[in-house]
């Protein structure tokens, strides 16, 4: 078994008095793609925000054998190689693609690692489209290119664990396919990945292990291959089960 990179135990997040995440326990091993799937509103984005230190949370989170919850700030986590590509991409719209990428290396630059030219070449090799558009403003990119830029910018930080929040959001199927191919390629380069997706089938096809989040708790977990044909997944999405239908 590969060593554990990140693990949560009993993680809870509240919005006011409402618990958005309830006692979530997930585990990511080095070099794996782990996916968290589930319908909208299940708490997937909340989970990532809590892991990144963007939201106050209770419970335990250990990353690289260190307890990080509430002790490390966002920039400290980024410096330790935990990098999030958020659902909304959060690009620097009026700056060039090249500047967006450069700022991805900000945390490394601060620690004195000035070797980002090499990483930049690697990112351009993964996303040739970005190289073509390096001088263009990020705000003028198409949806798929924005997602590529967001991922490329995160890769500039040389992540150990890359967390992707709904990379397929709003993208056409062909582009989704391309993005997921790159996710697999990154795994091959040794980056561990936590992939949060609503597009369950796509995510399960590339992942090693999967958690299904429903109403803020882990409803099902198993190897991705096993979950791919599990009827419970479909049920949690489209309510076909009908066993607890609401109105007549």
């Amino acid at each position: 078994m590969k060593p554990i990179l990140l693990e949560t135990r009993g993680l809870c997040v509240n919005y006011g008095r409402v618990e958005a995440i309830h006692k979530v326990g997930i585990r990511i091993r080095q070099g794996e793609i782990v996916t968290v799937i589930g319908p909208n509103g299940a708490g997937k984005t909340t989970l990532l925000s809590a892991l990144m230190g963007l939201l106050p949370a209770r419970g335990e989170v250990s990353y690289q054998d260190q307890s990080v919850l509430g002790t490390l700030s966002v920039d400290a986590l980024v410096a330790k190689g935990l990098v999030l590509v958020p659902e909304k991409r959060e690009l620097f719209g009026s700056m060039s693609v090249a500047d967006n990428l450069l700022l991805g290396a900000f945390a490394r630059h601060r620690r004195g690692d000035r070797d980002h030219a090499k990483t930049l070449d690697e990112v351009y090799a993964i996303f040739p489209r970005l190289a073509e558009r390096r001088k263009q403003e990020a705000g003028t990119l198409s949806g798929g290119e924005r997602q590529m830029l967001a991922m490329g910018r995160a890769l500039m930080a040389k992540p150990t664990l890359l967390m992707l929040d709904e990379p397929s959001l709003g993208l056409a199927p062909l582009i989704v396919k391309e993005i997921l191919r790159i996710v697999v390629q990154l795994k091959g380069m040794g980056v561990s990945i936590l992939l949060v997706e609503q597009n369950a089938r796509a995510a399960l096809q590339v992942a090693d292990y999967a958690y299904v989040l429903e109403n803020g708790s882990v409803a099902v977990e198993n190897s991705a291959r096993a979950l791919l044909h599990d009827p419970r997944v479909i049920e949690s999405y489209l309510g076909l089960g009908g066993s607890h239908s609401i109105a007549a």
């Binding site: 999030l84 909304k88 620097f92 700056m95 450069l102 945390a107 930080a157």
Partner: protein, 347 residues
């Protein structure tokens, strides 16, 4: 008015306008990055000028105890946070950087023959005891409420202004001061006489503006500040912490302010409360730029300088009224061209 007077007034207008332009750039920067409307900007002008005035006469910088006190306060606040986060290893660095360094600087400056130092070194000494007040003020007054509304930050800003003016009276007294010009004399150009200091002011202001532009366009820290202004969350996720960005731009604002003070002190007497009006005129320039556009803010500031200079000739008693009334048509124009405001929706 004959053309000689007109030229003289234009010269005055450009000189003051250059200073307002510098301040307006700092104000736009601080607002864009931290959402703080930095009312105390002008106090840094007064502190810079009056500290310089003390140094050239061989007195110790009056603000040094303030820098040391605030430094210790920052060390305590940061230290408590570090201990609470279980990062005691950071303590030595926190103490050295915030408390030991200012104390060491204070000791060194006591040993220096301040009066005999060369002019540039005197400038450096004055800046060394004013500029740290920028990041210190950010850390103590603004960082704890960095996520609050613009309105709350504005009230904190006004409170800081009140405190700094009050302390300014204590440090520098009610007497105004002037400092010797960088270079005595001037040159005659056609019908007008131009003081060398005027050339220094416009030249250095232009250089500083160019320097700031280079910093924002070409250094990674400058880009990080721009990125924070564009997308706070995005910047945070890249490890650009809001605290770092805030401290950085407050340092720049303090530097710009203090240096502006040193530039104008040879041509105008600066009092402990002079800075406020100067800073506010920078604000008028910044507002002309809608608090977001650097070039418009700079151009607006030159306009303010010229307007002030000509109105002091025609109606000197009302020059402040005329300058501040300028923002009314500007705001009216912005108001009529803005479609919809929804920035204050609560979270």
């Amino acid at each position: 008015m004959d053309s000689a007077v007109a030229l003289l007034l234009a010269q005055d207008g450009f000189t003051n306008g250059a200073i307002y332009a510098l301040l307006s750039l700092a104000l736009v920067l601080v607002f864009a990055v931290t959402r703080v409307i930095f009312i105390p900007q002008g106090e840094y002008v007064a502190y810079g000028a009056l500290t310089m005035a003390a140094v050239v006469t061989g007195q110790l910088p009056p603000t040094m105890w303030l820098v040391v006190t605030l430094g210790i306060a920052v060390a305590i606040v940061d230290g408590v946070v570090a201990v609470r986060e279980g990062a005691k290893s950071r303590l030595p660095l926190i103490i050295v950087k915030n408390a030991v360094l200012p104390i060491a600087a204070m000791v060194v400056v006591r040993l220096l023959p301040l009066k005999e130092l060369s002019y540039p070194l005197q400038v450096l000494v004055a800046l060394a005891f004013v500029v740290p007040l920028g990041p210190q003020v950010y850390r103590l007054a603004f960082q704890p409420v960095a996520e609050a509304s613009v309105l709350l930050l504005l009230i904190v800003s006004v409170a800081v202004h009140f405190m700094m003016v009050g302390m300014g009276l204590y440090f520098f007294g009610a007497e105004g001061a002037r400092i010797p010009p960088f270079t005595e004399g001037g040159l005659t150009l056609g019908a007008t006489f131009i003081q060398y200091q005027t050339i220094w002011i416009v030249g250095i202001a232009a250089l500083l503006i160019a320097g700031l532009a280079l910093f924002f366009e070409h250094s990674i820290y400058g880009k990080a500040l721009r990125a924070t202004a564009i997308n706070r969350t995005g910047a945070r996720l890249m490890g650009i912490s809001a605290d770092l960005a805030g401290k950085l731009c407050f340092t720049l604002a303090a530097l710009v302010g203090a240096f502006s003070g040193i530039l104008i002190a040879p041509i105008t007497t600066v009092y402990y409360d002079t800075g406020f009006l100067i800073g506010l005129k920078g604000f008028v320039g910044a507002i002309i730029g809608g608090l977001v556009s650097y070039p418009l803010a700079a151009a607006g500031s030159i306009l303010v300088g010229l307007l002030e200079s000509y109105s002091s000739f025609y109606a000197s008693a009302y020059k402040e009224v005329i300058v501040f009334t300028l923002i009314i048509p500007v705001l009216l124009y912005q108001s009529l061209t803005t479609k919809h405001v929804d920035d204050e929706d609560e979270h």
